[in-house]
Amino acid sequence: MFTLQYAKNPVYNNEEGTAIVLTVKWEEFVEEMPFSADTWDPEPWGIDLYNRAKAGEFGPVAPYVKPIPPVINFEPTPTNAN
């Protein structure tokens, strides 16, 4: 069990809205860390954090940002011009 000191910067972590990633600070750790709070977490503190984040306790939840596929530059294949 972990004890939450604070959480901030909630952002939806998937399109379905069933996961929220936050920056959290637990009392048991020295440093802040990124944490994905979601609905399928087997750990009770993860579910609790998701419900609290969803309710807006840590501020408005920013929308999910879908990854953008990379732009691939197709260059002409060199030919042997003998």
Binding site: N13, A19, V21, P34, F35, S36, D41, V65, P67, I68
Partner: protein, 131 residues
């Protein structure tokens, strides 16, 4: 009545005194998440079992990074959230027949990357859940 110290005697505000250093021990050890054998209050034997998938202390075959964005940057021992984005951790399995990788983003919480540091391409390795 305040706490007083007289010579080698400490007198507490409820009237009790202490003349020697106290000795003590753990009174109760609870168990859970793969650790069984408790609760122990005197002596006993603990057994460590395999932790449940996606629980704190569990390991998984992990993929870090988003395969659509080759701009990850991760380090050995770094902490990363579960997910499918940049510098996030998911699980994977490798098909025996054609060596293809299947990925699942079914992890939660924070994971420590136990593989080599790297980037910008995604990598597969091992991760351990820390919180």
């Amino acid at each position: 009545m305040p706490i007083t110290v007289s010579g080698t005697t400490i007198t507490f505000n409820n009237g009790t005194t202490q003349t020697t250093a106290a000795t003590g021990s753990v009174s109760s050890i609870a168990t859970g998440n793969g650790l069984s054998g408790g609760t122990i209050t005197t002596t006993g034997t603990l057994t460590i079992a395999c932790p449940g998938f996606n629980t704190v202390g569990s390991y998984c075959a992990a993929i870090i990074g988003d395969i659509n964005q080759n701009s990850n940057s991760y380090s050995s021992g770094g902490s990363y959230s579960a997910g499918s984005g940049l510098n996030q951790v998911g699980t994977y399995a490798q098909n025996w027949n054609d060596n293809s990788l299947s990925r699942s983003y079914n992890l939660s919480g924070t994971w420590r990357w136990m593989g080599a540091g790297g980037g910008p391409n995604p990598s597969v390795g091992v991760a351990c859940r820390v919180s």
